[in-house]
């Protein structure tokens, strides 16, 4: 009877989760999706706690654990600046995976003497997955937070080594399936999972982070689903499957936007592009540069300006200055929009969140597919801390490592302005021929400072002060 009640409550929760994702498909309904998720969660927790097996001490510990988690969770939810969002999301993958992994481990020790082969296999898989997502996400978060070096770390035979680690883990799972009481193997399995998570992330460079974060999201979901199989809990399976599907789709979108094969990503063969760099286009024309006031004059004369933000904007925290510039231009009657490349930044949708934080209306943010046909009609494009995603070599230069990657066709606009610190190459280490295009004006300097000056020039405030 109680079991049926719990199952029905979980069914209601599942409906809530499905609605939550469905409402996420439009900005107008998106906030409802949070509410649906919260209600579904509350129902699931209450139903779970209606359990006579929970002891007095158990209740006491549950209340404390929930309180501690809430106290840590609130500042982590409210105090995080939007620029720190990628590392925050990676960190929460780590927490989720840790929880799933620990429950799996505890369950193993509680049930190994009376379990089925199938359960043991799933449990072994779940423990490895939980552990590897835990350390992998911590590594990703550390790299994004620049506590760890961002550049990829590669060593000879890396892939073989990784597969060997995975192979040993697999062998241990097989042994456990046939003799579950060899519990001393479990700590080794845990250690292998933890090590594998680190190995998976060290060869990954900053620009591959969007794919990796999406992939870790997917793995975190899969470990929750695997736990559901072990605990015979359909709610866990559904929520885990939804999360796994979500991460998978995001990872596929990121891969397509970088012209990588999905298999290439799944087997952790990141960073290889960096090694194949070497050649770069031989002939370079001259680079034309402009000062902010010259650039501002050109922008004021334009009918339409498109701003292309990249990771550089996030690093310089220039999004608020960008908004000021857009406001000043709009006052002059210039139409301002934003072109967002799918892999701009360090996680899916990174630029959208940053610009939304700076109060840029979301209907001004255009996807690559929406804006690309319009570039020939655009007067001025302002490239802000983006590089490879606007490199025309991706369209025609077969030898280039980024050949085939879909890019924003900014070179079709009338004038292109590129704000950049120096002539240094982008993440892929290749020269950007856009910079040598006669249409292009380089504005050298820090993104935040340059955009701030542009805003002042356009709004004419400097004249007002000096006269």
């Amino acid at each position: 009877m109680r079991q049926h009640f719990v199952e029905l409550a979980y069914l209601v929760s599942v409906i809530g989760f499905a609605l939550s994702l469905k409402w996420m498909t439009a900005v107008t309904t998106a906030r409802r999706s949070v509410l649906a998720g919260e209600i579904a969660f509350a129902i699931a927790i209450i139903a779970t706690l209606v359990n006579p097996a929970i002891t007095g001490t158990g209740w006491f510990l549950i209340v404390i654990a929930l309180a501690v988690g809430t106290l840590i969770g609130i500042p982590l939810g409210l105090r995080v600046p939007m620029t720190a969002m990628p590392e925050r999301i990676a960190l929460s993958h780590a927490f989720g995976a840790l929880a799933a992994g620990l429950v799996g481990i505890a369950h193993y020790y509680l049930t190994y003497h009376s379990t089925t082969k199938f359960d043991t296999a799933v449990l072994g898989f779940e423990i490895v997955l939980g552990c590897l997502v835990f350390t992998g996400s911590l590594m990703a978060s550390g790299k994004l937070h620049e506590m760890l070096p961002q550049r990829p770390i590669v060593f000879p035979g890396q892939n073989y080594f990784n597969f060997a680690v995975l192979g040993v883990a697999l062998a241990i799972i097989i042994v456990l399936v046939f003799s579950p009481s060899t519990t001393w193997l479990v700590p080794i399995l845990i250690a292998l999972g933890l090590v594998f998570g680190v190995l998976l992330i060290i060869p990954i460079g900053g620009a591959d982070m969007p794919t990796v974060i999406a992939l870790l999201n997917s793995y975190a979901g899969l470990s929750a689903a695997a736990l559901g199989f072990v605990l015979d809990n359909k709610l866990l399976i559904v929520a885990g499957a939804l999360d796994g599907a979500s991460g998978l789709i995001l990872a596929i979108i990121m891969c397509r936007a970088m012209n990588r094969s999905f298999r290439n990503v799944l087997f952790g063969a990141f960073g290889q592009i960096e090694e194949s760099v070497a050649e770069s286009g031989g002939e370079h024309g001259n680079v034309r540069s402009a000062s902010p006031d010259e650039a501002a004059e050109i922008m004021k004369m334009a009918r339409s300006v498109v701003i292309v933000p990249g990771y550089g904007m996030a690093v310089a925290q220039a999004q608020h200055k960008v908004r000021e510039l857009a406001d000043a231009l709009e006052k002059e009657g210039v139409d301002v929009r934003y072109a967002i490349h799918p892999v701009a930044g360090r996680m899916p949708g990174h630029m959208n969140v940053l610009l939304a934080e700076a109060n840029v209306p979301y209907d001004k943010l255009l996807d690559m597919d929406e804006i690309n046909p319009e570039f020939p009609q655009v007067d001025v494009v302002l490239v802000l801390g983006a590089n490879d995603v606007v490199n025309p070599a991706a369209r025609h230069s077969k030898g280039s490592p980024i050949y085939g990657m879909p890019i924003l066709n900014v070179d079709q606009a009338q004038t292109v302005m590129v704000v950049k610190r120096s002539m240094r190459a982008g993440f892929a280490g290749i020269e950007n021929e856009l910079f040598f295009n006669p249409k292009t004006l380089m504005i050298f300097g820090d993104a935040k400072q340059v955009v701030g000056e542009l805003a002042i020039e356009v709004s004419g405030q400097r004249d007002a002060i000096s006269h």
Partner: protein
């Protein structure tokens, strides 16, 4: 667990996966970061499993693991939902005004 139950669970997993793929496919790129934050909160549903492990208080070892697991997933649930909502609150439309169709005559 009997083979029958396992197969039922596999049905649930596969169908939920398809539902997820179809729903997420429709989420606009604009909302991909809030989507990640939301699914992250949802996947912290392993809280349900850790509550049982902690509450049943069977061995010291399992209770410690359960305690850490409940804390970790509660952080994710609370933080995840708060952060998703915080992000979604920032997304605003442009204030309604006559559509500024790029009119040709105004500019040289």
């Amino acid at each position: 667990m009997s083979a029958n139950e396992t197969i039922t669970l596999l049905f649930v997993f596969v169908l939920a996966g398809f539902l997820g793929l179809e729903l997420i496919r429709k989420v606009p790129k604009l909302l991909h970061t809030p989507l990640m934050a939301l699914t992250n909160a949802l996947s912290a549903i392993s809280l349900v499993g850790s509550l049982v492990i902690l509450g049943e208080n069977q061995t010291t070892y399992s209770t410690i693991l359960g305690f850490v697991a409940v804390v970790a997933s509660t952080i994710n649930v609370v933080g995840g939902f708060l952060i998703t909502d915080k992000m979604l609150r920032m997304f605003r439309r442009a204030p309604a005004r006559p559509t500024p169709a790029p009119s040709e005559e105004a500019k040289p």
